[in-house]
Subunit: 362 residues, 2 copies
C-alpha cells in the first residue's frame, strides 16, 4: 500500500471520475477531478467504520487531525451491503454539508472479517452475515468516489498509530476488545498484512491449549476469555461461589443477561467478585500481551474497546502479569497503553489507509 | 542492516585494515583492503556459529551457495570469550588454507542470547556463561577482519531463508528446537529485530498460562514442553504409566539420563510410549505454530533442530493440530517444513548477515 496513485486496490478510479452528480456530495464539484474543490485541492478523506452494531462515517482532514465531523447510525447489515453502501453515501452527503466547502479525495472503508484488498471484497463477516461482498465497488458506485477497503481492526490500529496512543511508533500492535478481540500490526508506518491479508489475529492466539472452546474452533484463544462475551461468560460461571455479588441478582433476573459492561460497572461500584473477574481477565490478557512483547518486541501495544473502561481494575493486573512473563529487555522498550481514540480510531485509520494508498503515506 | 558499507554495527573497520599479518589468515593478502585477494575481489565470507557445545566456522561463497569448507570444534566457552575468539582465528586460518586462494571479506558471528548489535556486545548467554562480552571486537582483533554480531537463532532463520527451506520467502519464521527453542523472523529479506534487538523469542510464547514452569520464569512457554530437555522431562514424568517402554529401563539405569534423542530413537524403534510423547510434543508445538500463523500469516515456518529427526512421529500430529487451530486463509498461504540445512544454517546465516550489512543485501 505504498503506491502514489490509485491502483488496483482502489476502487472507483474508473467509474467515479467526472460524475459528481451521481455522488450527490455537495462538497464534490463537477470538475471530473476526484473530489477536488474549486480551490484545486481536496480538504478531506472520508473514513467509514462498519461495525456489527454501528456504522460511522467521518471526514478526516487530508493533512491529519481529528475528524471535522462524524456521523453514526445503526448498521442494519441484515438489509444488505448495497443498502449499507447507500447509507454511507447519505451520511457522507450530510457530513460534507455540515463542514461546508471542501472536496473529498476519496473514502477509506474498514469492515470486519477477512477482506481481499486487491479485489475489494469482504470475504466473510460473521458479525454482519455477509460473504463475498464486493464492498469497495458498492461504496464507489454509491458515492462516485475512489475507495479503499481494509479490515476494521487494522484500521483501528492504524488510526492509533497515525493520530492516537501510538503516534508514529516504528512497531505498534493494536488490540480491540469487543464482541471478539481484533488485532492490527503496524510496522514501519504500514499495516502488516502477511501473505494473504490474514495477519494480526491476536484474538486467536491460544494461551491455554486445552482451555475454553473458541468460536473459531480452536481452544484457549485469548478471545474466549477477554472479549466482552468471554468476560461475561466467565463472570456467570463463577457466580455459584459469589452469591453476594451484585451480578448474582442480575443473573437471576428473567430476560436479562450479564454483560461485560455490567461486570465493569459492578467493579467500579466496589463489587469484589466483579473486580476479581476483571483481574483474572487482565492476567489472561497479559499472557497474550507478553507473548506479543516476546515475539514482536514492539514499541507500543495499544489496548482499545469498551472493556478498557474498567481502567485500573483491568490494567493493573495486566501490567503486573506482563512484567512476570515478558523479557525485561523487550518489555523495557514497550509501552502498554489504553487507546486514545475510542469511537474514532476506526474512522481515522480507514481514512489513513486511503491516504496511504493514494498519496503514498500519511 | 542495509548499509552498503561497514557501519557502526561492523567491528574491525578501524583496526582491521592494513594489518594482514595480525590476522594470520593466508587468504587475506596485505593489501590493506579488507580481505580482498590479489585478483581484487574477496571470494568468501566466514560464518561463525557459537553454540553451547559446538563451535562452527565455515567459508561461504560471497555469491551464495553451500560452505566451501566447515570446521567444527568444541566451544569450551568456560575458557572465556578471548580464548574462543582465538580459536575462531585458528579455525579460519585452517579453513582458508584448505580452500586455497581467495580472500575473506569478513566474518559474521552468530551467538546465543540477546546481543546488542550496534555495540557488538553479547549481553547474556546462560548457555555459554558469558555476560556483557564485546565479542565482535574480540573476533575482529583476533582475525584482523571486519565482523558483524547477530543472535544465533536469527542467523539460523536467515540461513534457511537465504539458502534453505524458506529460500526467498517474503515472510519466514524459523524455530530451532534444541536445549531451548530459538526463533528468528525474516520479513522482506531482513531479520526482524524489534525495538531492542529482542524480537523472535518464539520459545517463550506461553501456550498454557498455568502450565509448566519455564527457565525464563514464565509458565507454559512452548520451550518448557518441546525443547530437548522439555521433551525428556515430560517423557520421564509419564514413565510410571509406561513400564513396558524401553525408556523405563533407561531411566532406571544409574548415571544415565533420558534425553530427547533417546525418545526419538525409541519412537523410531517402535516404542509406543515414545511415539505418544512425540505426538503430544507435536500437538503442543502446533499450538505455537498456529499462533504464529494467525499472527504473522507467514509464507513459511521452518522447524530445525535435533528433534526434527523424529520425522513423521513429530510432524504428522503437528500438522494435524495446526489445521485444527489456524485460520484456513492464513494456513493455506503457509508451508510448515523441516529445515534443509541442519548443522550449517547458523554458519550460512551468520555469513549472510555480514553480507547484508556490508554489501546491502544477499
Amino acid at each position: 500500500m505504498t503506491s502514489s496513485q490509485p491502483d488496483a486496490g482502489t476502487g472507483g478510479g474508473g467509474h467515479g471520475h467526472g460524475d459528481g452528480e451521481r455522488s450527490g456530495c455537495p462538497g464534490r464539484e463537477k470538475t471530473g477531478d476526484r473530489g477536488r474543490d474549486r480551490a484545486g485541492a481536496p480538504r478531506w478523506i472520508a473514513g467509514v467504520d462498519i461495525g456489527g452494531t454501528n456504522l460511522r462515517v467521518g471526514l478526516v482532514p487530508l493533512e491529519g487531525g481529528p475528524p471535522g465531523v462524524i456521523r453514526r447510525e445503526r448498521t442494519r447489515a441484515g438489509q444488505g451491503p448495497a443498502h449499507v453502501a447507500a447509507k454511507v453515501a447519505d451520511m457522507l452527503r450530510s457530513a460534507v454539508g455540515e463542514v461546508g466547502r471542501g472536496g473529498v479525495a476519496g473514502i477509506g472503508v474498514g469492515c470486519p472479517g477477512p477482506v481481499d484488498r486487491g479485489a475489494g471484497m469482504v470475504l466473510e463477516t460473521p458479525n454482519l452475515g455477509w460473504r463475498h461482498v464486493p464492498l469497495r465497488d458498492l461504496v464507489a458506485d454509491a458515492t462516485g468516489l475512489p475507495v479503499t477497503l481494509e479490515n476494521d481492526a487494522n484500521c483501528a490500529a492504524y488510526g492509533e498509530w497515525w493520530q492516537g496512543a501510538g503516534r508514529g511508533a516504528e512497531r505498534l500492535i493494536g488490540l480491540t476488545l469487543g464482541t471478539g478481540i481484533g488485532g492490527g500490526i503496524v510496522l514501519g508506518g504500514e499495516i502488516y498484512h502477511g501473505a494473504s491479508d490474514a495477519a494480526g489475529e491476536v484474538g486467536h492466539m491460544s494461551v491455554d491449549f486445552d482451555g475454553r472452546l473458541c468460536a473459531c474452533g480452536s481452544r484457549g484463544c485469548v478471545e474466549a476469555y477477554a472479549s466482552g462475551p468471554g468476560i461475561a461468560a466467565r463472570a456467570v460461571e463463577g457466580l455459584a461461589d459469589a452469591a453476594d455479588s451484585s451480578l448474582a441478582g442480575i443473573a437471576r433476573t428473567d430476560g436479562v443477561r450479564v454483560t461485560a459492561r455490567m461486570v465493569c460497572e459492578a467493579a467500579a461500584g466496589g463489587d469484589g467478585y466483579a473486580r476479581r473477574v476483571l483481574a483474572e481477565t487482565g492476567r489472561i490478557l497479559a499472557v497474550a500481551v507478553a507473548n506479543l512483547v516476546n515475539l514482536f518486541n514492539p514499541d507500543v501495544i495499544v489496548v482499545a474497546g469498551g472493556v478498557t473502561a474498567a481502567g485500573d481494575h483491568l490494567f493493573r493486573p495486566l501490567r503486573d502479569e506482563v512484567r512476570r512473563r515478558a523479557f525485561p529487555s523487550a518489555l523495557g522498550a514497550c509501552r502498554v497503553v489504553p487507546a486514545e481514540l475510542p469511537g474514532t480510531a476506526g474512522v481515522i485509520g480507514a481514512a489513513g489507509v486511503f491516504k496511504g494508498a493514494v498519496y503514498g503515506g500519511v
